[in-house]
Symmetry: C2
Subunit: 237 residues, 2 copies
């Protein structure tokens, strides 16, 4: 069974992996959420005999394979979960989309931590306000506009990011829209009309029975102010 290792109290970067495992109907252990699980995660991260030590959580254990980096985990899982296209060119395109999502997620994190994780948010709030303004005005439109563009250009139609079947890119886009609505409700309220295809894809993913079941379960950790997406009203003004 797949073992996912990620911080147990946040959705964070691990959520893109959780959503793919859930959408694919795969059994998995969310190890750090089990009893003494965070200790197990830290032991594995620090174990001197691990040949391929991940730089940071999340990472996935799949038998002998230990793999970190969300986009690499999803590339590894995608074909097995039925969440990646079969052709090599389409698989590369999907991966490229996920890597762009990775960049977006890093920028989202930095809206509340523009200086670094050494300091609490309160200690970098002034800088955060300035960065968040640029993020809301320049970066959300650029990234969301790009998703809208690639949906428009999908030769199989705007039902999915790649081809005509659900992929981990679609579940990742769902999470982005969910999170942005949580963290930047005002900015999203103003912006969403410009990205109808992306929002419609979010809605379709949200309506999938497996995603609905997951989001209603306690396996889905609620958004909170320790995660990537944080509801700080002063950053949404």
């Amino acid at each position: 069974m797949y073992e996912l290792y990620y911080w147990p109290e946040i959705q964070g970067r691990g959520e893109y992996v959780r959503l793919a495992l859930e959408a694919g109907g795969s059994a998995y252990r969310d190890v750090a959420r089990e009893k003494d699980g965070t200790d197990a995660m830290m032991r594995l991260l620090d174990a001197p005999d691990v040949r391929t030590p991940p730089f940071a959580p999340p990472f996935l254990r799949d038998g002998d394979i230990l793999v970190g980096q969300v986009a690499a985990i999803l590339q590894h899982l995608g074909p097995v979960l039925g969440l990646a296209p079969k052709g090599a060119a389409d698989a590369l395109w999907l991966h490229q989309i996920q890597l762009t999502i990775t960049d977006f997620v890093a920028e989202i994190h930095d809206t509340h931590h523009p200086i670094g994780n050494r300091f609490y948010y309160q200690e970098q709030k002034t800088e955060a306000k300035r960065r968040a303004t640029v993020f809301r005005e320049d970066r959300i439109p650029k990234f969301m506009g790009w998703f809208e563009t690639i949906l428009t250009r999908n030769p199989a139609g705007a039902g999915h990011l790649v081809g005509d079947r659900l992929s981990y890119g679609d579940t990742s886009l769902f999470q982005l829209v969910e999170g942005l609505r949580y963290a930047f409700p005002k900015a999203m309220g103003k912006g969403e009309a410009a990205w109808p295809k992306a929002v419609a894809l979010h809605d379709r993913v949200a309506a999938l029975p497996r995603i609905q079941a997951y989001c209603r379960s306690d396996r889905r950790i609620p958004f909170n102010e320790n995660g990537i997406f944080r509801a700080y009203p002063e950053l949404d003004n």
Copy 2:
């Protein structure tokens, strides 16, 4: 022939692709450096009939394939250039390393642009000083220490990041050390003794005939203050 598209006046993110193409002995066009080349790049980026529009440069054209995101480009090129291991598990490990390098590069960029690219460096210098301090003290040691660890644990020895042959990970690590020495000479001067294997690998890559020839040629753009690595003494204090 491969066509690389990237900003013509900086090494930037494109350099990781250039180095792989050079180390692999591949012919390629650096399109934006040709006459009217930047216009050609922007036209391709904006062309409405491109099915897989990259989010941003660099991107590579390989026949019918147009691929952006450095790590995806290198994953695509690696096997053809002889710069990726043959086994799937090793190839995934190499890709994971490159994705971690991607994260490091984004953090390096943000030392001089912690607020965003909308503002000139001079307009975010105060924030940059604060972020650069955290970067020098926390992040350089964490990333460089990780490279040292994975070199130490490579079962084939510390000669290369993965296995016993040159890969695009090695040429990327070369570029990181070169760039960090340019941008943070004092921090690197103090820090390098802690990462002897990583520095030795940098030196071996630097001594490769193809890399030497490239670095002496005008195909190698010198470091400058428009790129990712910038020599701002106030950020290295």
